[in-house]
């Protein structure tokens, strides 16, 4: 079996309601087996309760050259930073 399938990026969710976090990738020939492989490699030791797998080719990434124009924080525009609001009590994961 020299054909290893395609690469899938794996995202794991620690607990319901929390964001899915990228944890690595696996090879697989289809979605169901990609999920299984992901479970075997990344979610066997209580790492999470839900998984996403996405074919790597569908991930659209920014390129390293974009660092300046794309990510400069515009620190002088303070209205972009919602620091004037107080977070109500009991709200988590903000």
């Amino acid at each position: 079996m020299s054909d290893q399938g395609i690469v899938w990026e794996v995202f794991v969710q620690k607990k319901p309601g929390q964001p899915f976090v990228h944890c690595g990738n696996v090879h697989a020939h289809d979605a169901e087996l990609a999920l299984q492989n992901a479970r075997d490699l990344y979610a066997r030791r209580n790492e999470g309760t839900a998984l996403w797998v996405v074919p790597a080719k569908y991930i659209v990434a920014s390129s390293p050259e974009d660092v300046g124009p794309f990510f400069d924080p515009a620190n002088e525009k303070i209205y972009r930073h919602p620091t004037f609001y107080t977070v109500p009590e009991g709200i988590s994961h903000m």
């Binding site: 169901e32 087996l33 490699l41």
Partner: protein, 252 residues
């Protein structure tokens, strides 16, 4: 045969089956067809080894002759093992390993679901944990059986060969003897007659999706309930027990 002897034998049967099948799967370590599959098989092997450990530990306790689970695993000869013939079969190619695993996992899935209700609390407890793990083993092996069966011409013929070769060891899974009879009376063991139709239904469904044909008029092999095995078990034990027999009482 006393009830205690029957329970001891029953625990050996379950422990040995998981130990031997687990050892077979662990033989794929370093040789898997792809990294992800090697991990999957090793994980299944570890689950089975854990189950074997629990059953043999309990067997040793029931026997109460000062033997440990290690003594039972590493210091018995092939005639003293009670695993099914299906479990001891060599790996063959990947399709062969998958078919063996599928037939076995499908059986274990229904078996442990019933054993969960055993009046023996220890057996019921081990079964509850095992059933969770086996649900995954079944999912993995049936998925692959379908894909290989319904895959290319070569994968189809390889897994069909595996089915043709292994089918004659399936009747033995449901064979009951004096041990089963004695323990059934106390609601300790599983009535294998009751799980056979469920197993057949599932196996038929999966094999149909996999476009595979069950061989007809196959002569069914038996023997493991009496400690009689294929020639393969002796070689497996020689390798598996080598370390312990060379260094008796060795600790990790």
């Amino acid at each position: 045969m006393t009830n205690k002897e029957a329970l001891f034998n029953y625990c050996l049967r379950l422990g040995d089956n998981n130990l031997i099948l687990g050892h077979r799967l662990s033989e794929w370590t370093g040789r898997g067809p792809m990294l992800e599959e090697e991990m999957a098989l090793c994980n299944i092997a570890l689950d089975l080894l854990g189950q074997a450990n629990s059953f043999l530990q309990y067997a040793a306790k029931v026997e109460a002759k000062g033997r440990s689970e290690d003594d039972l695993a590493y210091l018995r000869n092939d005639r003293e093992f009670f695993n099914t013939l299906l479990a001891e079969h060599p790996n063959g190619d990947y399709a062969f390993t998958i078919m063996r695993q599928f037939l076995m996992s499908a059986f274990d899935f229904y078996f442990y679901d019933e054993l969960k209700k055993s009046s023996d609390e220890t057996l019921a407890g081990i079964a509850a944990k095992a059933h969770k793990e086996i649900t995954y083993h079944l999912r993995h092996s049936s998925n692959w059986a379908e894909r290989l069966g319904d895959g290319t011409e070569e994968s189809h013929s390889r897994i069909q060969n595996a089915l043709d070769e292994l089918w004659r060891f399936t009747a033995e899974l449901f064979e009951m003897n004096e041990v089963d009879g004695l323990l059934l009376k106390e609601k300790i063991s599983v009535d294998l007659k009751s799980i056979k139709p469920k197993w057949e239904k599932l196996v038929n469904e999966v094999l149909q999706r996999a476009t595979l044909k069950i061989p007809v008029n196959t002569f069914m092999q038996r023997g493991s309930r009496d400690g009689k095995h294929t020639e393969h078990l002796g070689y497996l034990l020689a390798e598996m027990q080598h370390l312990h027999r060379t260094h008796p009482g060795v600790q990790w």
